[in-house]
Amino acid sequence: MPLRLHSLASPARFDRFARRILPWTWVLAALLIPCGLLWGLAFSPADYQQGDTVRVMYVHVPSAWMAMACYALVALLSASFLVWKHQLAGIAALAAAPVGACFTATALVTGSLWGLPTWGTWWVWDARLTSVLVLFFLYLGYIALAGSFDDRSRGLRAASILAVVGVVNLPVIKFSVDWWNTLHQPASVLRLDGPAIHASMLWPLAITAAGFAAFFAALLVVRIRSELLAWRIEALMRRRSAGAA
């Protein structure tokens, strides 16, 4: 389906929805992130083994979660775009991907920084680390593919297919710590039998994570709007230049 101009011209329902939730998400993000980070930096206890380096956790772990959740979302949106031809879903996925890539990057960098004191090196080719790197490339591939078609809507459809197929990597990342003997920590929060870390660490972690999620939601709305504008601008320009003929 080529993207009809009018179907984009007034994604009115999205706009109404966005208008309603946007203030809330900004407020939530602005409250939760500083709160969680400060808590993590200043008021949570140092680890008896790792000392103060454990504070990296409060940025590392939420980033890592967001990196994976974001990919899951991109894949989900892409799938619904492909199946139900819901244009907005495809555009939303396109808008979300760079955010996910950024979270992946921060997870990688903070993890590396954390690795130096704990493992004695900032990079090992351990399965967890490498698979997150692969996730980063998957994001890059998705973004690059979407951008390398002359026709935006064809690029979006091709990239959506990639996003859906790329889901195979999520289990590899999630379970890499179980399948291999890795240096990396196995899951201690997101486990079937409940979290296994102390509440004094769980709280700031949960608050930062919630803050990141709120931030993501707010940013996503802005980026979707921006993306919609880009499509309209391009369509207009195309028509102008074609009309001038």
């Binding site: 389906m1 080529p2 009809r4 369509a235 320009m237 195309r238 028509r239 102008r240 230049s241 074609a242 009309g243 003929a245």
Partner: protein, 205 residues
Amino acid sequence: MAGDGERPHLLEAANLACERGGRLLFEGLSFSLPPGAAAVVTGENGSGKSSLLRIVAGLLPATEGRVAWRGEDCRREPGRWRREMVFLGHLDAVKPALSVRENLAFWGARDEKLLEEMGLAALAGLPAAMLSAGQRRRLALARVAARPGGCWLLDEPAAHLDETSSGRLERMIGHHLAQGGIAVVAAHTARGLGDALPIRLGPGT
């Protein structure tokens, strides 16, 4: 759309519109063809002849409107729809590494008579890489000729052909129409398709 008297129309295109590269090529285009009828699409370069053929073939989604074959929307029943649909674009779909005969076999056409009808009998064993432009076009036409009776969509079928072969093409289309097939042909002149339904597309670029 209703039939033409008693004969039901095989191909019906209703209210087609096509926008490409930001330019509206055509809109509100409707036509329908009963068995044995042909349409000839003319228009300047860039007016959308090829685009129209690709829409009818189902290669390109129409911006608006629908196409029905034997009363069924082509998007719904791709299997049945496509079995009778034969498309020939600007490209010949010829495999240079295969011989002429093998090329036809590749598309499921094993009848030696086809080679003769298209004047390819003498070239049958030659690798297609060695064909001249017109000979290659004839090979592409032979693939089409192998499946008469359905819906032929031919984009400038006479490109590169000489007089003799243009005559072969006319005979081939005539034979097909006589068997109750229909044909939509894009061309720069309506020559040789005198009684075909003319479809004239808007200005080109």
